[in-house]
């Protein structure tokens, strides 16, 4: 069940949290469907560099993650200097988890759905998020 559904979305893509990346590395069929449906329709898969690092640290030999990392449909997002200050408050609300704060910030800015294994932590940073659990 999704958390927080507020009518039709203008979805240009999906945000993948660390848990979603790990599910993809485990060949999860729902993650496969998200990735391939986005690619076939020209949608973007938006991934925080913090999430990608966590997933690759856990699964350094994953061919799936290596392919996702360099695919043209994947947009890796790194917080810029001016965004670092904006992340301090959401990081505090997530209990100091800067990755969760950045993932929530990315999804909230675009209004895109996010795939995550920690929906409550993300919505503690931004209550407006649509979080699909993995």
């Amino acid at each position: 069940m999704s958390h927080r559904v507020a009518g039709p979305l203008d979805v240009g893509g999906w945000v993948l949290d660390t848990g979603a990346l790990l599910a993809y590395a485990n060949d999860d069929t729902y993650l496969q469907s998200v990735v391939r449906s986005c690619r076939r329709r020209g949608r973007t898969l938006l991934v925080s560099t913090l999430s990608m690092r966590e997933a690759l640290q856990a699964r350094p030999d994953s061919e799936q993650l290596a392919e996702l990392l360099d695919d043209a449909g994947t947009l890796l997002a790194e917080p810029g200097q001016h965004e670092v200050a904006e992340l301090a408050e959401p990081a505090r609300r997530t209990g100091g988890d800067v990755t969760a704060a950045h993932v929530a910030w990315l999804a909230g800015r675009r209004g895109w759905p996010v795939l995550s294994d920690r929906p409550w932590q993300l919505t503690s940073a931004d209550r407006s998020l649509l979080v699909e659990p993995v």
Binding site: T29, R53, E54, A66, V84, L130
Partner: protein, 89 residues
């Protein structure tokens, strides 16, 4: 390991650490040359997504259920075509 920080300096450190990690990773791990082969291998190992998997994606995007079911069926057919191009060895 998840990065824990609340102050700007700690957050910036986590950002830089991640950038340096990804630079090292890319230098050591070349990207697969055929993404479709990777996708076919995932389906053979983990299973092929069904209509409900794809329909869930489209419904989450706000697509009406009947349209989501039709689009999902097209995706499943595209997966079958992809698998047929990469027969099991």
């Amino acid at each position: 390991m998840r990065a824990r920080a609340t102050g700007p300096a700690e957050i910036l450190r986590a950002v830089v650490d991640s950038r340096e990690f990804l630079d090292r990773y890319r230098a050591a791990h070349p990207s697969p040359t055929d993404p479709d082969r990777v996708q076919a291998a995932m389906m053979r190992r983990g299973g092929i997504p069904g209509v409900e998997d794809y329909a869930r994606v489209f419904r989450a995007e706000g697509m009406p259920p009947a349209q989501a079911a039709r689009e999902a069926q097209r995706m499943v057919e595209a997966d079958r075509e992809l698998l047929a191009r990469y027969p099991a060895r």
